[in-house]
């Protein structure tokens, strides 16, 4: 009889789920909502500010070309190289700024931790796919652009199960 | 007030635990030193950890003693460290105990140093069957030949590996 009750319970549990709300996030139409603007770091306090670790954003007016981000990345992904930029900044005598290869980046965010001048943050944008490898290399001017991300969907827990909505 | 009390209790508990672990390690070290004398050298003694260094000849004896008298019945890992400056390779067995509840948190590092140019050591596979794959890995990663181990052969590395054992210090990763 144990066998029969086991089957019946399984059947009941299975059929119950037919009427539950479906959990799937329909990705291209729906996108997840994230907590903040992205992962940031406060060098004075020495802790980060919670956020999604997506593509970087580089503030040209704060970057001093100190290479600390590139040094941090050297042992991890070797994704950051310092390149010459045409711009002239007072704080950046050598005119070098990081250029990030997203084909190599692992999005650990240790470069953001390494930056002492609030120049490098991470944003919510994670859709970086491209047709060629060379398109994955983001130059400093590309990194300066603030990406647009409009995710509105969150996990909600209702009476008919959890769902994305 | 209550919080203070609980905190006090906790600190007391911690102290009791530390004392217990100290007592345990003391009794363990004492028994080993009384039994083996000068042959066994204590390297360090921390909370719940202690490391003893033996000569390669005494390795099996010490392991057998630890297993039979103190209930260290398995090895969490067996690994090697290369010391080219001393021309030696150190082999560490991290021994733990599942049968003796007192020694649950305790780990004895049984280590020995063998000659780097011709590294050979006695296998502990008959005492701790659990070191089987660890010793095999150590063989291919550091080139230490374990006498008595039935399969000193390739395990993790590629099948066509023909270079030197990769965890030796003079093996350099390309581009580094």
């Amino acid at each position: 009889m144990n066998t029969a009750t086991g089957f019946i319970k399984a059947l009941e549990s299975g059929t119950k789920h037919i009427v539950l709300k479906r959990f799937t996030l329909r990705y291209p139409e729906e996108k997840l909502k994230f907590v903040g603007d992205g992962y940031q770091f406060d060098p004075k306090k020495g802790v980060g500010i919670a956020g999604t670790r997506g593509r970087h954003i580089l503030f040209h007016d704060k970057c001093t070309g100190c290479q600390l981000c590139a040094i941090a990345c050297e042992g991890i992904a070797e994704a950051i190289t310092m390149v010459k930029v045409d711009e002239q900044w007072k704080q950046n005598k050598k005119s070098i700024m990081p250029q990030i290869d997203y084909g190599k980046c692992v999005f650990c965010g240790l470069c953001v931790d390494a930056c002492p001048f609030y120049a490098l943050y991470m944003t919510n944008d994670y859709e970086l796919s491209s047709f060629t490898k060379s398109h994955l290399i983001y130059t400093p001017s590309q990194l300066a652009v603030k990406p647009k991300y409009d995710g509105e969907v969150e996990i909600k827990i209702g009476s008919r199960g959890a769902y994305h909505g | 007030m209550e919080k203070d009390k609980t905190q006090n209790n906790q600190t007391n508990l911690m102290e009791v635990k530390e004392e217990k672990s100290n007592l345990l390690s003391n009794s363990l070290i004492n028994s080993i030193t009384t039994n083996f004398g000068e042959q066994v050298k204590l390297v360090y003694k921390k909370e719940n950890r202690s490391k003893i260094m033996v000569s390669p000849e005494n390795l099996v004896e010490t392991a057998l003693y630890l297993r039979n008298n103190h209930g260290f019945d398995h090895a969490e890992s067996a690994s090697g460290t290369d010391y080219p400056a001393d021309n030696q390779i150190e082999i560490n067995y991290h021994l733990g105990s599942y049968s003796n509840t007192d020694y649950y948190p305790y780990i004895v590092v049984l280590s020995t140093r063998v000659d780097r140019s011709d590294p050979k050591s006695n296998s502990l596979i008959n005492i701790f069957p659990s070191v089987e794959y660890h010793e095999r890995e150590t063989y291919e990663m550091l080139g230490v030949y374990f006498l008595g181990h039935p399969r000193n052969e390739r395990f993790i590395l590629p099948e066509d590996w023909a270079d030197m054992p990769p965890l030796r210090k003079d093996f350099r990763i390309k581009g580094r």
Partner: protein
């Protein structure tokens, strides 16, 4: 857009389609029509409505809707219609296709997924079409060292054997492709070919995993053949006929499932095993032997075998309905006339809609109830897959040889005792006829 070629022009596309249509039309008039007309000299033409159906008459009848009906009426009583369209292959294949789609959607719902979604806008109803097209266009890889004739033949044999079982299933009184007196035995005989095909194909694939899968299929199907057959035996005793239509007709008052519930259970379980569906999909156990005897199948070979196995699913569900669920009997819910007073009116459109001479309320009702019951049985077979794991070969064989056979034997004796005790049967207290 990236998906289009750079030199794509919509005008060229339309022009190419127009060109294609013109070429086809020209070929049709120049080559195919003469061939048809020449061949018609040698083919005896059927007589419809008292006239010989010449092509000229055919085309003129097609123009007048009121004269189309006799042709259709004539056509649906030909053997070729029964074998090819209803209740034969096309009908069964349609049900098989719907089954595949419903299964995917149902399992998805049970597993909190969405299932097929994008093909065909509405809940992905054209997913199967897309999959079929994909399978058609895929390369068929034949393993080196494979026994090529058998490798190519096996999928076709699989589908045709499944279609042969379908041919024996009556969907309404008189609506069956092959109304044979040994229908039940014929069905079991044809079902017995499947392990042979599986073994032949797996052997011909020249690979280890198919070989193990084929052996498993052989073991499994033979182990379940006997309880399968024995569980149908009491039904034969009760209705004293092997003809499937007669068996269905004998249940116009009581369904057999009320008298033989244990047999129905055993039949259901064994048909799951025959179908190699979870929990009995050992020949295709993907975590142990890759894909079992289907490992080396590619492209349309796989598609044909899938089609065959879903045809088989329909056939066995139909067999279950015929044997235990009273066949096509059910309360009459279709009206005597499709549109009341339609065939007395003078409007030709209404007369056409009345489908005078085509619409038979009893047959339509029978087909409806048969379909409803079959779909319920198919549904039960599908839902089992969502809640159960695969079982092990030795448990499976043990279940087949020890438990189910014993159950059927006990039930057989019980039925015999009831009949000779005069409780059920033709002259019993509970009369079946």
């Amino acid at each position: 857009m990236g998906s289009l070629t750079p030199d794509f022009r919509f005008g060229n596309f339309v022009a190419s389609i127009v060109w294609l249509v013109l070429v086809v039309l020209a070929l049709f008039t120049v080559l195919i029509l003469p061939i048809i007309f020449f061949s018609l000299f040698y083919v005896p033409l059927p007589i419809v409505d008292g006239q010989v159906l010449t092509p000229y008459l055919f085309f003129s009848m097609m123009v007048d809707p009121s004269r189309t009906l006799p042709i259709v009426q004539f056509f649906i009583h030909t053997d070729i219609f029964r074998a090819a369209i209803f209740p034969g292959f096309a009908f069964a294949a349609l049900i098989a296709a719907v089954t595949i789609f419903v299964e995917r959607k149902l399992l998805a719902k049970m597993q909190l997924r969405v299932g097929p979604l994008y093909a065909g806008k509405v809940e992905g109803i054209f997913q199967l079409l897309a999959d079929g097209l994909k399978l058609l266009t895929k390369e068929i890889i034949v393993p080196s060292g494979a026994d090529k004739p058998i490798f190519w033949l096996a999928p076709i044999m699989f589908v045709s054997t499944a279609a042969a079982v379908v041919a024996l299933i009556p969907v309404a009184s008189g609506w069956v492709v092959a109304d044979v007196d040994v229908g039940l035995i014929a069905a079991f005989a044809i079902l017995g070919f499947f392990p042979l095909i599986a073994l032949l194909f797996s052997w011909a694939s020249n690979s280890k995993y198919p070989f193990i899968g084929g052996l498993r299929a052989l073991h499994q199907l033979i182990a379940f053949e006997i309880p399968f057959f024995l569980s149908a035996l009491p039904v034969v005793i009760l209705s004293s006929s092997l003809n499937l239509s007669d068996i269905a007709r004998s249940q116009n008052i009581f369904w057999n499932i009320f008298i033989l519930p244990i047999n129905a259970f055993v039949f259901f379980i064994s048909s799951l095993a025959e179908l190699e569906r979870i929990p009995f999909d050992l020949p295709e156990a993907e975590s142990e032997i890759v894909a079992g005897w289907l490992t080396e199948t590619t492209g349309m070979i796989y598609g044909l075998i899938q089609l065959g196995s879903y045809l088989k699913l329909y056939a066995l569900a139909g067999l279950f309905v015929i044997l235990f669920l009273g066949g096509w009997y059910g309360p009459q819910i279709f009206p005597q006339e499709l549109i009341p007073g339609a065939h007395e009116s003078n409007l030709p459109l209404l007369q056409m809609l009345a489908l005078d001479g085509l619409y038979n309320p009893i047959t339509v009702n029978s087909i409806f109830w048969f379909l409803v019951k079959t779909i319920v049985v198919i549904f039960l077979m599908l839902i089992i897959r969502g809640i159960n794991p695969r079982i092990r070969i030795d448990i499976l064989l043990h279940t087949g040889w020890y438990k189910l056979i014993v159950l059927t034997f006990i039930n057989l004796f019980v039925v015999l005792m009831l009949i000779y005790g005069g409780i059920i049967g033709p002259e019993g207290v509970i009369s079946i006829r």
